[in-house]
């Protein structure tokens, strides 16, 4: 019976390919850049002009700061 691949199998397959082929790093770079741009846009729109005040209120709300 054919084995169904799980998340960890994909981690292994990807890491093996990556160690042989640096071109796969380009995909990773795209993911990182997209994540940072999306996060930046989200929080700038959420907190507006007084960024720090809004950010600290949010961070308290999620328990990241006291």
């Amino acid at each position: 019976m054919k084995k169904i691949l799980d998340d960890l199998d994909y981690v292994v397959i990807y890491a093996k390919q990556l160690s042989k082929n640096k071109k796969l790093f380009e995909q990773q770079k795209r993911l990182i850049e997209d994540q940072i741009a999306a996060s930046s846009s989200l929080f700038k729109n959420s907190f507006g002009k007084d960024f720090k005040q809004g950010a600290r209120k949010y961070l308290k709300g999620i328990g990241l700061i006291a």
Binding site: D7, L8, K20, N21, K22, Q28, S39, R56
Partner: protein
């Protein structure tokens, strides 16, 4: 072309710099004026190719005195970083003094952030990894991480979450040609002490 090469004691990753790398590099460029450091945890896996999102970059440093910390804090603020906990160096140092981490992000940004984690000699595992750094280079960005075998075991034994197990597996697979069994044996008892 291969994903990395080991030359002397430096592992060079064959890829372009990302915005995340530049964020860490800018922070380290300031930090290095005041203290030594070690980049640990998620960024070790991500900088070596693990494809997953991240919000924070963990950096450990040996606890420093208040006056030196104040200079570092002001330098970071002057160069475009803000501290989640407080804008005042003295108030932020209260966390450091109590061995609690604080976080920094770029001005008017929330993520990514640096989790800036103090330690002292009582923290055996942290002290060990800090004292045995592995150099990593991506283009002109060189920084220090724990020995890869140490990082793998720490993720597998101490952190042990789903994300950590996947990170460890990535490191085991990606660096399979250069990992040393004797180092795993040497590091395991040090890491298991963390659980006691």
């Amino acid at each position: 072309m291969e994903g990395y090469k080991l030359e002397g004691d430096i592992i060079t990753i064959n890829r372009e710099l990302t915005s995340l790398d530049l964020f860490v590099r800018d922070f380290l460029d300031i930090l290095k004026r005041y203290s030594d450091y070690l980049v640990v945890s998620g960024f070790v896996s991500i900088s070596t190719g693990r494809t997953r999102g991240t919000e924070d970059v963990d950096i450990i440093f040996p606890i420093i005195k208040k006056d030196k910390f104040a200079l570092l804090f002001e330098d970071l603020q002057k160069n475009g970083f803000w501290c989640y906990q407080n804008d005042d160096a003295e108030a932020a140092y209260e966390y450091i003094k109590n061995m609690q981490s604080i976080r920094f992000a770029r001005t008017d940004e929330m993520f990514p952030n640096i989790e800036f984690i103090p330690f002292n000699e009582k923290k055996k595992a942290k002290y060990f990894e800090y004292s045995h750094p592995q150099k990593i280079k991506i283009k002109d960005f060189e920084f220090k991480i724990p020995p890869i075998e140490f990082e793998i075991l720490f993720k597998e034994i101490v952190l042990a979450g789903k994300k950590d197990i996947a990170d460890a597996l990535h490191l085991r697979t990606f660096f399979s040609k250069i990992l040393k069994k004797e180092k795993f044996k040497e590091y395991e008892p040090i890491i298991k002490e963390e659980l006691k």
